[in-house]
Symmetry: C2
Subunit: 522 residues, 2 copies
């Protein structure tokens, strides 16, 4: 090649996956698929590329339109983009095929999505999502069903009840609180976003951290200062009322006094332990939304949701109402939900943390309407596959741990002139459905056996001139061979071991002998 | 939404896939995977995006570097591209991980690739490939193995022996012929490409068409003129010698005289019927390469390949040497192969044509070396999944025809106030592993039953106030229901049919009753 030497480098924020990760991910996706199909969702695959204007400007946590999206022009100078989620393409698909689809239309989709962002630990530019959406119904039963399905799916994947929770809130509640503290209207969109982001950090920072972010701002452990929303003290208390009761519960469970000194005790000092649960949570929400009609709508929505959750029996901790759930996307219009893993794990710095969110979603009644000029109600749930995969690894789920495969049977090539004959051994094995390959390199016997080890092989086939003269093959059990190599001759069964670790058979008995060896190491 | 109405349009050259296509494709991919794994290849997944400079300029049939590739800059202004095949990313991966990989390294990869080209019938901008490659060996046994695997894979997918052929050639033969007609060297690269493209059209145009393209040029049926390579008559005869014998065989089989009047008879009039087969083919190649040492190398390579094919028993028509195989990619350095389906089908204009190529590959000893500054021998085979899928559909393979799924059991909602109670029916069914859903729209009973039909459901659950009062549910068999609707009352078993098409049961027997109905329609 006349090219100068090129740089062999995986692009930043992207990953290569080897066989074990691929096999485990496939098993995991098959389980999710079974769970989604049980709920009546049917598969849809849209391309990875859409017209840029069809994707819209709904990327989470981005203020400038199309920031964070990979975009390019085709040979006709049309702007195209890599999809950044699986919801915008669904909206395009439904709008384009509206008349011929059954309604409500229930679909699931799985595949990679892309973000043009600075990559970091656990933050990739290509990652996989698995979504289910119901389009064409405004019934909260559709939202509740997604939450139930999320819970079922986590359990199918081996996450135990109690190790996860599906949290539900309503955007209308949050909008109501915004109205109640004077942050309604287009002109307050920026400050509203700052407040929502502060609320969203509740899980990580607690009430005190959120209070700081709602006020002047917060200095984190590293000394970095994040500017706050600069709300007035009474507005801060109103917002904190939303989830103060949740904080109270969490603190009680840890055996701590319910409130930290000086923090938000004013807002909630009249609450009692018996308020815990749905009624308690709703009490906080009621206080926070005041007389806002949007907020009261949200409150009614949460009550209807709770009735359905109870009747399906998911009120046993699997699903709960949690007013701190924000979800980043601008387009949500009603119920929003989040799937959180509650067990503890270590973060990148070795600190113990709760695993946190592995998925979420919500109602987006306006998104399909962007194409059709009329609102089409819709709701959806999305699993972050890579993150969930990391969680399954952390709990050593059988889904991901049982996917180590053994290597092929290796037929050694000790005489390149006999390669056609060696090839017939491989063909016989494959015809018997045994994974097998001819050693294709040019190294000697020891290197060939090392290659077999590296591939995780159980068995190697050896035929030197000695065996060939007798019409025989030697079968080597690589597992026993390794054991033999680590033994001494004093071992009682040394001779027996040696006999079993490598033995000769007539060529015609090759397949049978290999099956024998493979059966020793199931 | 304040957005103006957006255009809901699938980008040109991309497709959406529904549940039947997705299920069939998955089954097909699972079979290919099993076949590749049986040959000892292990899975690898690289990202869809690579640094542009790592992809190189090897796109088939493109003269300008990077033409036909979708490229864009990331937030650090680095140029990235969507992969256009699965070989260039493998070369990057192997070069980057060279020291820790077993050698030879055998991997398979499957996934979408992208081309920034004018789309057309059967020509997409995103399509799927399934590749296997062996890196780190120059043995032709690796090439032969890929050909054998290609044949096995097609048979696993239900393509009968005789309906396909794997054709093998060597680039060295073609290079030798180029040298022999004075087209060696960098300065003739352009004309060489024109000649190779002409040879590549042999299957479609026959000897006469190729002869025209090697000379002044060719006018096709529509009157369009393609400029030719402008070779001298003796050079044209030399090139035609390459596959004249093949043409001869084809003509004989059709019962036609071996040569059309006035066409290439000068070159091959001394051949006899007994030359058919490998010897005959090799005879033509010998004449064409003359004394070119590269050409003679190629000839020797084809002979070694043929020995291996024979000893594996694939010389029964599954694999054959065919000097007309070119394969477009500039980077091939040795054996090249192509998987062709030989059965007939209709093209877009309704004409009967052979189905043609569904995959191919070859040896590319220089590609990994672009990164490492030393040649790393490698060979690979790629299946065009979408094209093969079309072929399986054309022959009605069970792989693709048996994947129609039945719809979920639909629980009708006749009283929105009772939705929580209806939900419990759905939960019971799902707990029994029966795909079920609650009707989530707001339409009346007839529309709900139409929805169930549209979903392909077998069974609907109905509970109106009448049934509810008695603690019962009505089970509707939608298949028998349709039969009933098409019958008249004179039918002998009309009453029995009506009884079986819809019946009531106590709520507690819901799951059992649904199982009964589902079992009627396996």
């Amino acid at each position: 090649m006349s090219d100068p030497k090129k740089r062999a480098k995986l692009p930043r924020g992207f990953v290569d996956l080897g066989p074990a990760d691929i096999a485990a991910t496939e098993k995991m996706l098959a389980e999710i698929k079974k769970s989604y199909e049980l709920y009546g969702f049917e598969a849809l695959a849209t391309p990875l590329v859409e017209y840029t204007d069809a994707l819209g400007k709904f990327l989470p946590d981005q203020e400038r339109p199309n920031e964070g999206v990979f975009s390019f022009q085709d040979d006709d100078e049309q702007w195209l983009s890599l999809r950044y989620d699986l919801t915008a393409p669904l909206a395009r698909y439904v709008a384009e095929n509206f008349d011929r689809l059954p309604k409500p239309y229930r679909s699931y989709r799985v595949g990679p999505v892309f973000r043009n962002e600075k990559p970091g630990p656990g933050r990739f530019r290509q990652f996989m999502q698995f979504d289910a959406d119901t389009v064409g119904t405004s019934s909260v039963a559709a939202d509740v069903e997604l939450c139930m399905m999320a819970a079922d799916t986590l359990e199918w994947l081996g996450i135990k009840r109690g190790d996860y929770v599906i949290k539900v809130n309503s955007r209308k509640v949050l909008d109501g609180v915004m109205g109640a503290i004077g942050l309604g209207g287009e002109e307050n969109a920026g400050r509203r976003l700052t407040v929502l982001r502060a609320i969203d950090k509740y899980d990580r920072l607690g009430a005190e951290g959120v209070r700081a972010l709602l006020g002047k701002g917060r200095k984190d452990e590293s000394g970095d200062f994040t500017k706050g929303a600069d709300l007035r003290p009474d507005a801060i208390i109103k917002v904190l009322e939303l989830f103060s009761i949740v904080d109270w519960v969490a603190q009680s469970k840890k055996g701590n006094p319910p409130f930290q000194a000086g923090v938000d005790s004013g807002a909630i000092d009249d609450r009692k332990a018996e308020h815990i649960g749905f009624e308690g949570v709703i009490g906080g929400v009621k206080a926070a939304v005041g007389s806002s009609s949007t907020g009261l709508d949200g409150l009614a929505e949460l009550s209807r949701i709770w009735v359905l959750i109870q009747s399906a029996g998911y009120d046993d901790g699997r699903i709960r109402i949690d007013p701190s759930v924000v979800r980043g996307l601008e387009y949500y219009t009603g119920p929003v939900f989040e799937a959180d893993l509650t067990f503890e794990t270590k973060d990148e710095d070795g600190r113990t943390v709760r695993f946190g969110s592995v998925g979420g979603g919500g109602r987006y009644d306006g998104l399909v309407g962007c194409f059709r000029g009329e609102d089409v109600p819709a709701t959806g749930f999305s699993i972050g596959v890579s993150r969930l995969y990391a969680a399954l690894k952390a709990i050593n789920s059988p889904i991901v741990s049982a996917s180590v495969q053994r290597g092929p049977v290796i037929v050694l090539v000790l005489d390149q002139g006999e390669i056609a004959h060696y090839q017939t051994f491989v063909t016989q094995l494959r015809n018997a459905n045994i994974v097998a390959e001819l050693y294709l390199g040019s190294s000697g016997m020891n290197a060939q056996l090392k290659y077999a080890d590296k591939r995780g092989s159980i068995c190697a086939i050896i035929q030197g001139s000695h065996e060939r003269a007798k019409g025989e093959v030697a079968i080597r059990d690589l597992v026993l061979g390794a054991e033999l190599a680590a033994s001494t001759k004093d071992r009682a069964d040394y001779l027996d071991l040696r006999t079993r670790a490598q033995f000769s058979r007539p060529e015609a008995e090759l397949v049978e002998a290999v099956k024998e060896v493979l059966a020793r190491h199931p």
